[in-house]
């Protein structure tokens, strides 16, 4: 029982909190906002740290669970919110890109299967240097930090 518990915790830690791409990129707390089952679009958020010594850009995202995945930024002008598609988002050497509600976000379009709260969504991030990082984003409501994340 203990071993199962331990394995489970390790697994969750691995899936939910961070992933390493080579040594350059670190993904923090990838998550998808839980939404009603019938929605056509969802948003994914995360922090992406560039630990490398040169600037890179996030140039694309793939997920087998959606018909289309795009990068967007919510831009506010006079309290009007507009979504602007972004081809790539730069991350300075040593810098961090925050994908968060009301700002840059990943738009997940037309789910091929239900996205349930408590589940995960596989995402592959593609960078300008050709590297790819795969993460599992936890599906949860906003404001609920990943419990396991807080323990590190």
């Amino acid at each position: 029982m203990r071993i199962i518990c331990l394995t489970w915790m390790l697994l969750i830690t691995f899936l939910g909190s961070s992933a390493w791409a080579g040594e350059a990129v670190r993904v923090e707390d990838p998550w998808v906002r839980a939404a009603p089952p019938s929605v056509h679009v969802l948003a994914a958020y995360m922090g992406i740290e560039n630990k490398g010594s040169s600037a890179i850009s996030l140039t694309g995202i793939e997920s087998p669970d959606f018909a289309k995945v795009e990068l967007h930024e919510t831009v506010m002008t006079d309290d009007m919110a507009t979504m602007v598609p972004r081809d790539s988002l730069p991350i300075d050497a040593g810098g961090k890109l925050e994908l968060k509600p009301g700002g840059n976000h990943i738009m997940l379009i037309d789910p091929k299967k239900p996205v349930a709260e408590g589940g995960t969504v596989p995402l592959t991030l593609i960078f300008s240097d050709g590297s790819r990082v795969s993460v599992q984003a936890a599906v949860r409501k906003a404001g609920e930090m990943n419990d396991h994340h807080g323990m590190h």
């Binding site: 009603p36 019938s38 929605v39 948003a43 509600p101 976000h105």
Partner: protein
């Protein structure tokens, strides 16, 4: 013909002095009236509560249960209202999540305030946001929240009356489109008048609850 240019210097100066004087007098008067109006208002509410509640003209919309949603439905309760669309992945669920937190907090800590409140999501995308789509989307955030849709023209009219703007983007190849829209939360008073506006920089559940309680206080006096 006697134009301003042809006037002799004396009357010209007098006319300018008169105009400048009038403008100053009017400005001072407006300033003083605004001051009087806001005098009783807690400072946190200045810029949020309208100097005077603004009535809206009649409208005819539909709620997600198929019932008429008109001015009458705004009577007797404070209505928190947000304009959005269900194909919106970021701002709309974020704001609806926030409203859900506001109502949860009211339920837990201020049930009397909750009793006087309702939450409404008005679609700016009636083409895609059918009653069924809204019935699925809106109660997800709070079972009591109502999704509102209707004729495009009626929605336009209602939105315009509140100063809500929205604009469809150029559709993509597959026909999908996004909509730019006001991200503020509108508060209507129990007489169905536009009472306060929470712009996105004030979108924090605790802050909105605090401001709302102050508004209730102000109206209880």
């Amino acid at each position: 013909m006697r134009t301003f240019k042809n006037l002799p210097k004396g009357p010209k100066t007098a006319l300018i002095a008169f105009l400048v004087g009038s403008v100053i007098t009017i400005a001072v008067q407006i300033g003083y009236e605004l001051f009087l109006e806001r005098h009783e208002m807690p400072s946190e509410l200045v810029g949020i509560v309208l100097p005077k509640p603004r009535g809206v003209s009649s409208f005819q919309l539909l709620d997600h249960n198929g019932q008429t949603f008109n001015l009458e439905r705004l009577q007797g309760k404070w209505t928190f209202m947000f304009f959005g669309y269900t194909h919106c992945p970021d701002v709309c669920p974020t704001t609806m999540g926030l409203l859900s937190d506001v109502f949860k907090r009211l339920k837990e800590q201020h049930p009397q305030a909750l009793e006087q409140s309702q939450g409404v999501f008005v679609s700016v995308d009636p083409k895609r946001d059918t009653k069924a789509a809204l019935k699925d989307f809106v109660p997800y955030f709070n079972k009591e929240f109502l999704g509102i849709t209707g004729d495009e023209e009626q929605i336009q009219k209602f939105a315009k009356g509140l100063g809500v703007g929205f604009k469809l983007s150029e559709p993509e190849k597959d026909g999908s489109y996004a909509i730019s829209h006001t991200s503020a939360i509108y508060l209507m008073d129990p007489r169905g008048r536009f009472y306060a506006l929470f712009q996105s920089q004030f979108h924090d559940a605790n802050r909105i609850v605090d401001m709302f309680l102050k508004i209730l206080d102000l109206n209880a006096k």
